[in-house]
Amino acid sequence: MNDSANNKVSAIAAIIHKEWREVVRDGRFRFASVATVLLLLLAMTFGWQQAERIHHEREAAGDVARKHWDHQGEKNPHMATHYGMYVFKPTGSLSYLDPGVEPYLGVSVKIEGHRQNLPTHAAASDSTAIHQFGGLTVATGLQWLVPLLIIGLAFGSWTSERERGTLRQLASSGLALPVLAVGKTGGLLAVLAALLIPTAALGGGVVSALGHFGAVDVGRIVAFMAAYGVYFLVFVAVTLAISATASASRVALVLALGFWVTTAVVAPRVLADVVGAIKPLPTAYELAHAVAESLDKGLPGQTPKEERVEEFSKELLEQHGFLGAEMMMPEALLQGLELQAEARFENEVFDYHFGALNADIGAQEVWAQWLSFFSPTLAVRSLSMAFAGTDHAHHRDFFAHAEQYRRELVQLMDNDFATNAGADGWDYVAGPELWAKAPRFEYEPPGLFWVLGHQWKSVLALMCWLVGAGVTSWVFARRMRVI
């Protein structure tokens, strides 16, 4: 390392040290930081308590639902599929950090024959209006409070140096202003790290002391923290850039707050509207109507129902080697196969409509990710939910598993009917042995790489913000007027 580089490094270190001292000696800052940290810890504890309660509630409900299935008494296997079984979505182990869209999504799916049901019983449908404000969650704290804390710390970084006249001295010390900017960024980050890293550690300690349910996904936790780290860095850089151009501290503060209001408060709601306008979703009524119509007549613009069912029965008969020899089949087998053919047709209809719906919601999510190039809060929000496992992509994944399970269960029952009914036909009944053969519904959320695959646009948007804000801060510091 040559002398000048050495000099720069020690200068940066000196500035970091000075910024640190200035901030730490400021009573207002001490108060604000303690308040922020306390709020985050409170939010985390409460979030954990809620998540834990929901977790146990669903586990217990799942057990009861399974018991209902196991003890449904003797009946025809096909009738058992009419009786059906409820399955419940397990709570993500990180949902206490960011509940995401989880409260607005159904948590239970009724598994039954002939019908693919939408998940129902969303928590939010049972809440009073106050919940529209949104409870205090770790995610809100990180997305709203910490950026405000950063603005409060950094808005005067350049302007107050100029107002006090110290900027002249700094500038005359022979260091380039952008180098000073690096030092200031470092100082602010040091302060934030000193606040948030112990908070995270303490929170993690509290949660593991209380007892963590589910597997601890270290990868997701690290990714979650990294996303917020970048987000905070963006706010530090933006605030410094604003402070470098503003004519006075109060102007800097007002501009920085304006940026915060636009990106963190207004943008998410505007985004939801824009996305809804680009990809409108059908209303619950329209969807139900369309499904009913297709079940009755066949998919729009495709083979009518009867012909389609006929095609499926032919396929099935061929598989069983009875094509053209239906008369020789045991009646129960024929009926069983017909039921299966009908079920296949119904599956096709459900696939079509629910697939379209989920594709629309998925497309909305993709648009939301692209639009996060307009606001870092949008980007970090997508990432936060995704890493916490509470976004709609995770929900779709669960939904797909539940549907897979439904098909397996219905097939298991109809197969038993077809092979074992024999001459009893519809009077054939099966008992608990058959019910017990149905596998338990198990669901594991996908891994970190699956999430990253879904979220690369948000990652890119956040990175673009980081680079853009960093470069702007650098350029503005360079062109800053000293007096």
Partner: protein
Amino acid sequence: MLQTVIRVEWRNLRRETSAWITVSVFAALVVWAALNGRTHTDVMTQSVQEAHSEQQQQMQQWVSALAAGDENAQDAYKAGKDHVHQVVALPLSPLASISMGGLSDTVLRVSLASRLESTGEAHVGSPVRQATGPFDVTFVFVYLLPLVVIGLSYDLLSGERERGTLALILSQPVSLVTFTLGKAIQRALVLLGVVFTLATVAPWLAGGDLSEPGAPARLGLYLLLVAAYTTFWFAAAVAVNAWGSTSAGNALALMACWLVLIVILPGFVSVGVDVVVPQPSRIELLNLAREAAAEAEQEASQMEGDHAPDRETLKDRYRATVKRSLEVQQELESTVKPVLEQFQAQLSEQQALVDKLRFVSPAIILYEGLTDVAGVGVDRRSWYLSQVDRFHDQWRSFFSEKAANDQSVTAADIAALPRFHYAEEPTGKLTLRVMLGSLGLVFPTAVLLLLAWRGLRRPDAVSLR
């Protein structure tokens, strides 16, 4: 003296570009929110209409089947279960467009089936949008209006001090209180003028029918709430200026107030309500009902008649099953009813707690008030639901009595079918609730103004620091 201060302030403000920008941006946001509300109410009206026309179509099919002497259609049990139902909806209030949040489950399908089935409908709707909250007039007023007020008044006095003009002002025979009062009156007039104009334009843009009875009262209450909220925030700005120092310090203090009153306290209330009165769980209700209904459902699944092979021997078995089904349903009703009632009671208890706790933050008061005025509040909803419950009972007994007595439905019965008429909640009740809430805005405003007055009267308030 006051007039002079007001006039000069007006001149000053008029020539302030940032004030113009702030007001224009805010106006644009209000317009957007209002148009958004319009789209929302249009969609709601349309889906209610569709549901109604489907129901009518079904009814007509049933009527013609009855006329044709179709046995299935005449069977009271089958008719009530499969052929005919009623769609009931809570009519939109004239100001419905100002609040898109909350109650969407107000279009209900009333049939012979149990209560449980008629309420738990699957929700579709962008979950991201639900999680974010809608961009409606309520949001703009609750969250953004205070920011506009803060933006236009955070440096009311500190700005004069920093500019150096305060020294010259105070070397004149005018007291700090008079001067500040003049400035404050001017600013408040401008703010209220802007807010009133926008608040009046919003529902008009959003296309509610303002000629409906009850509309003027709702409009009046809405304007009152918004004006009181604006005044509260303005009083906060004046108080901070009276005691504060630099403009930047004032802005920070006011932002802290915003954060505490609009984000943190409502967050705590929302969380606290769940802790004190735990949110009732639909899942548990679901399992309870399923246990109670197990038998009924078993019977019902036996009745998925298409699969029954022997249609000849069916008739007797069928009668017995219908009877049993009705009995079971009755049992189910009586088992589930207390659970449902307890469930509703818990929700009401939560709401009652919120009604008390709303006084901790003006933002909650305004939110709850606007929701109420828009006719999508919890109170109007339970008012409606109790009517639906009564109607449901009538509807069910109409069919179940006939079924139990083995009577068939005839064309003559159609005129006697129960009909649902929604009777609107008396305006007096709404007014009382909103007025009570607005006390929670007026009182803190008075306290803040008193605080401001005392701050301005301090001996060292004039010191130029």
